[in-house]
Assembly symmetry: C2
Homo-oligomer: 243 residues x 2
DNA sequence: GAGTGGTCTAGACCACCAA
DNA sequence: TGGTGGTCTAGACCACTCA
């Protein structure tokens, strides 16, 4: 198969990546599912197995697919244990792994403020759901979250659905709305606690807090969530790595 | 070539990775240098080009090597333009790219406190250099850094050497001591400015600051730098990505 | 045009898993 | 035992850079 025709040369495996991503967007394979074997995909796309392999390798490197030798290749899901810490970067300083408990404060329907609207590619004033919650470690409140998602993509979301769901919020988004978060960008500042945060987080007013603003993306790099977390970092840190 | 002898199976390309890394540790190829071509390396290690290729691919993914089509494969260096922002995650909120200016405050020889010693695999009290500096954007001081490096690895480091060096600190470490930083872990908290920080950063006492603790590693995942940055995040944010 | 990395293929064989 | 991903090879050819 020959697609080498400069200019605007695009490798075959890159085109395969796009085709696989399109199947993910279309929901042909859902989070947790196994996708067809490399040999099957090679036949389907009429390329060699090696080319499919390279496409899958890259998607696996982006944490979109997960390879398991002897079993198959799976669509990454936030319901898997290994995903629990992927988007939660706050950890105990003593290194003990602990997953926080969540207390839902409110779920309301609102008009998107300019700040989150522009980051979500919405018009200011577009309808969104606003979720507020409090995350606690060892029963001590540490993170106050405010989360905005477009109402159009999360039709029918309400308080009780979230409250009754046992897993993480992203796992909930997957199973109820078919929306999988695959990437996020965060901007972090140090701010003073205001009166509301101070009360909810059990800290004095003006306590320094980490303010973590996030935009999360689903397949095709489409932004679908904005959130702001205010975090009390006593005995906890935001942990990150760079290379 | 057959190395498939379970148990303790280790792929060939993984062994090649280790051999390349050892050459980097030994200084056979230094940051900025071109390493031999894939064909030459394949001959040297007596494996196929494809196997060398996979080893280099992984090292390139870790930002240890850099491939340039038509030119060769190079050892990553902090002297390259593309590296300027790799380990500097503080950026202007308005998105304008700006590289800070540095004012060196002091370079002293000290005994390692327990905190940094343990993270650098040194005995408490081991000899270190302590560098203090102030980074400014648009002439406004934003980041107060305290940096610890083992004296044994940075023999002869002094004030004037750093002051006269035109590039970044990591670029300086590379060119004068042959030590290349390839990876770092950071722990971030929100803290109050004390009197010293307040004065140097031109902020009131108790101003919330980002406290960024870093351990940086060189080839072979050897920790060689500890630093603590205190950062005034007005109109600036710490930016990070996850997937 | 020579040399480098980049793509694609075909085929053999190994490691791992489940039935 | 059969199916999956994982490794390794050999070879052909393309894209890019530089002299």
């Amino acid at each position: 198969m020959n697609i080498h025709s400069s200019p605007s040369f695009r490798p075959l495996y890159d085109q395969i990546k796009i085709l696989i991503t399109q199947s993910l967007i279309a929901g042909e394979w859902r989070p947790g599912d196994a996708i067809p074997s490399e040999i099957d995909l090679a036949a389907r796309f009429k390329v060699s197995q090696g080319t499919v392999r390279k496409a899958i390798d890259e998607l696996a490197a982006e944490n979109i697919l997960i390879r398991r030798q002897g079993k198959g290749t799976f669509v990454a899901s936030h319901s898997q244990e290994r995903a629990s810490t992927r988007f939660l970067r706050i950890a105990r300083d003593d290194g003990v792994a602990e997953y926080p408990t969540s207390r839902l404060l409110s779920v309301t329907r609102e008009r998107a403020p300019e700040a989150s609207a522009s980051l979500l590619d919405l018009r200011t004033g577009a309808s969104i759901f606003c979720i507020k919650r409090l995350l606690s470690f060892e029963g001590v409140p540490r993170i106050l979250d405010e989360i905005h998602v477009p109402a159009a993509s999360f039709k029918g979301l309400d308080d009780a659905m979230i409250r009754n769901y046992p897993g993480s919020l992203y796992s909930f988004f997957e199973s109820h709305f078919g929306i999988a978060m695959i990437r996020a960008e965060e901007h972090i500042k140090a701010v003073k606690a205001g009166p509301i945060e101070a009360e909810l987080l059990h800290v004095p007013q003006d306590q320094p807090l980490l303010r973590v603003d996030r935009v999360a993306f689903t397949y095709g790099d489409r932004p679908v969530e904005w959130r702001r977390g205010l975090c009390h970092t006593e005995r906890f840190s935001y942990v990150t790595e760079m290379s």
